[in-house]
């Protein structure tokens, strides 16, 4: 098991160099650095087009101290599949040794994962390639200027789901991507947040050791898109967990395990009141909409807990 010593971690070499142009307060690089710290330098990174890729690779400079490839937006799953297949072919031929297997990690946003990248990801999962796919989830297409994605919560303002007298932000439900991915039957899938860094880093270790496809959906605050103060990115993770907007769990070989429970479940308004993208919902007259969203969150939270409870039964059966 990985020893997570904060002092050691803080003094270790960074595989993502500073000096990139991600926004102040963007949590994506925090997540990436935690993840790469676990993975180490024997890692190949794939990025789908997004804030991370464009901010870290302004020709002629790069922030990546690992081999890194970005090609297109929709194909991160296929890209990592090609690299992993190349690796397997070289191992088969005896050109590369497999004793310390190279890690293959994808970083993609919710756009490149839930929507345009969905097919490619699903195919890679189904074929069983060995890789860790990390979705850096800021709940909208941020790189192109804050447009709604299927990861966007109902009621959220984005430029393509604005609010008006008649419509209060996005109308459609949020896709439960982690569940969809887990139901591909892969060895490891999880939801995480960088504010729970030990949990995230342990998840990375488990994922990389799973021997097959693995997935971690990481909530990453976006001050610009969420209309929040840059300093509160990490705190927002805690509020997301406390309000059950972003449950922290993992699915290991089909067993659902809850990793964090709020000491006291907070109302969704505590999530909304910190973010300008929900400010319209906090105005008088929007109580019904808020109540509907609260209901949806509660339903998902209950169904997740039920799924985790019934998984406990599974554990007993297989033991």
């Amino acid at each position: 098991m990985l020893k997570l010593n904060l002092r050691e971690i803080s003094q270790s070499d960074e595989l993502l160099a500073p000096g990139h142009s991600l926004c102040p307060g963007c949590v994506e690089s925090v997540a990436v650095r935690q993840i790469l710290n676990v993975a180490g330098p024997n890692t190949v990174v794939v990025s789908a087009t997004g804030c991370l890729s464009v901010s870290t690779s302004p020709y002629p400079m790069t922030a990546w101290r690992t081999p890194w490839i970005h090609s297109l937006f929709a194909n991160a799953g296929a890209t990592v599949s090609g690299i992993e297949a190349a690796y397997r072919s070289l191992v088969k031929k005896g050109v590369m040794a497999d004793d310390t297997p190279t890690n293959f990690i994808v970083f993609a946003g919710d756009g490149g994962t839930y929507d345009i990248g969905f097919q490619s990801l699903s195919g890679a999962l189904e074929r069983g390639h060995r890789f860790l796919y990390v979705c850096l989830n800021n709940e909208a297409y941020m790189n192109t200027g804050i447009q709604r994605s299927s990861a966007t919560l109902p009621g959220t303002w984005t430029t393509t789901s604005p609010f008006s007298e008649t419509v209060a932000g996005k109308t459609q439900a949020r896709k439960d991507m982690t569940s969809i991915v887990a139901d591909h039957g892969i060895p490891y899938a999880a939801q995480a947040s960088p504010h729970l860094w030990k949990d995230l880093m342990r998840k990375v270790e488990k994922a990389l050791n799973s021997g097959g496809p693995s997935f971690i959906n990481v909530l990453a605050a976006c001050p610009r898109g969420w209309r929040t103060e840059p300093e509160i990115g990490i705190r927002l993770g805690k509020v997301a967990v406390d309000t059950c907007v972003w449950p922290i769990y993992e699915v290991i070989e089909g067993r659902w395990i809850l990793n964090a429970k709020p000491r006291e479940k907070k109302p969704i308004t505590e999530w909304f009141e910190l973010q300008g993208r929900f400010s319209h919902l906090m105005r008088p007259g929007r109580e019904e909409e808020v109540a509907t969203i609260q209901e949806q969150i509660d339903l998902l939270w209950d169904s997740l807990r039920t799924r985790c409870e019934s998984s406990k039964g599974l554990e007993k059966v297989t033991a």
Partner: protein
């Protein structure tokens, strides 16, 4: 045709030793699969699409039987197929894919990514019409639509050429002065599904010919990390894209050089521009692909009628052999160009457009007629091509360029 036994031994025209020739009956599709078997690429990622499916299926059999060492990735779409190949080649190994029509079209953005990243991927295409309406039969709309994508384009007339092109493609793509992906095409059904005699190299010779892929950079070299696919600004982009133009220019000489090496091995010529009865021809026709067969029959008929007809077949379409075309066509009384693709709204179809620009920019002005044939898989007969020559003969008497396009075999 009398079957040829595989014991036949022929003198190699260019070489000193005689080499045992292995003659097989192969369809164009299986001929490409055979070349792929001998190349033994490290990674093949493909998605089936008619009529290139036979190549994919044959190759899958080879994988299952252990006749190749290839990691076969049964991707879930063509966009993913080419993306996986792009990544595999960036990871330092040889990768190939197979597609047609909608599949190629679905790869459109990936084509530009592969050439932009200077990755020597090889794509075998069975030319098929692009939807809509949906049509499984052959024409050149798919690959002509990709002519600006920065890929080298080779076209095969028959299964033999399909096999030959598939092997030389690897050497051309990987040459350090080129480093561009290669798209090798053959007419869907007409060539892919027609069985002809194909002389196949012995496995050892083919293996020696394609050699090993030695990439300069690899994603798998974690000791020397590289960044592939950065974001570029207007400050740098123009010059970078011009490197692709330079690489294409270099490719012309490399295509000839690799072709010559192949000729000395097999005795078969792989001229980027192949001539038939052009020495004293007055009326010339330029074609790409399998229609060359019917065109040669037409040329022979015209010759026996006393008309000095000749044929120019373009095997390597990108890079476009402008100088050679000007050399070969200058001084003719009239030239007809046969296109198998439409370019709605453009002055002319693709091949005609390229020939016209090449000639004009070198000061070669002559009667040049555009003929479009075989759209959507319609067959084209020697009699129609003879007709086209007659029309050319008539119109070129004016000595001026010929503005209108004619369509062969339409009702």
């Amino acid at each position: 045709m009398k079957p040829i036994s595989s014991d036949l031994v022929l003198e190699n025209q260019g070489g000193a030793e005689s080499m045992k020739i292995d003659s097989r009956s192969l369809s164009g599709g299986f001929a490409v699969a055979e070349a792929m078997r001998q190349t033994n690429p490290d990674v093949v990622a493909c998605y089936p699409i008619t009529p290139s499916t036979i190549v994919v299926e044959k190759f899958s059999e080879l994988v299952a039987n252990g006749e190749v060492d290839t990691e076969f990735v049964a991707v879930e779409s063509e966009h993913s197929a080419l993306s996986a190949c792009l990544a595999a080649t960036a990871a330092g190994v040889r990768s190939q894919t197979v597609s047609s029509s909608q599949g190629l079209a679905f790869m459109w953005e990936v084509l530009y990514a592969v050439s932009g990243l200077r990755l020597p991927v090889v794509l075998h295409c069975a030319n098929r019409a692009l939807s809509a309406p949906i049509n499984i039969h052959g024409d050149h709309s798919d690959t002509m639509g990709a002519r600006d994508s920065g890929w080298i384009q080779l076209y095969a007339e028959n299964p033999q050429e399909a096999y030959d092109n598939a092997l030389v493609a690897v050497r051309i793509a990987e040459h350090p002065d080129v480093l561009l992906p290669v798209l090798g095409s053959q007419d869907g059904y007409t060539v892919t599904h027609s069985v002809e005699r194909v002389d196949v190299l012995p496995d050892e010779e083919a293996k020696k010919f394609v050699g090993k892929y030695i990439p300069e950079f690899s994603l798998l070299d974690t000791q020397n990390p590289v960044t592939f696919g950065p974001l570029i600004s207007p400050e740098h982009a123009f010059e970078l894209k011009l490197q692709g133009i330079e690489a294409m220019r270099n490719a012309e000489a490399i295509i000839e050089k690799v072709g010559e090496e192949f000729t000395s091995l097999t005795g078969r010529s792989l001229d980027p521009v192949e001539l038939y009865r052009m020495e004293d021809s007055e009326l010339a026709m330029v074609v790409i692909g399998s229609v060359a067969g019917a065109a040669r029959v037409a040329v022979d008929r015209l010759r026996s009628d006393g008309i000095k007809a000749g044929l120019v077949k373009i095997r390597a379409y990108r890079p476009f052999p402008s100088l050679r075309i000007c050399e070969v066509l200058a001084g003719r009384k009239g030239v007809a160009v046969l296109d198998r693709a439409l370019s709605p709204g453009a002055p002319y179809s693709p091949l005609y457009g390229d020939i016209c620009s090449a000639l004009y920019s070198h000061g070669v002005i002559l009667p040049l007629a555009s003929f479009v044939y075989g759209i959507g898989g319609r067959d084209t007969y020697p009699a129609q091509i003879v007709d086209a020559f007659h029309r050319l003969e008539h119109e070129s008497k004016l000595g001026t360029p010929i503005p209108q396009t004619s369509y062969l075999g339409i009702t």
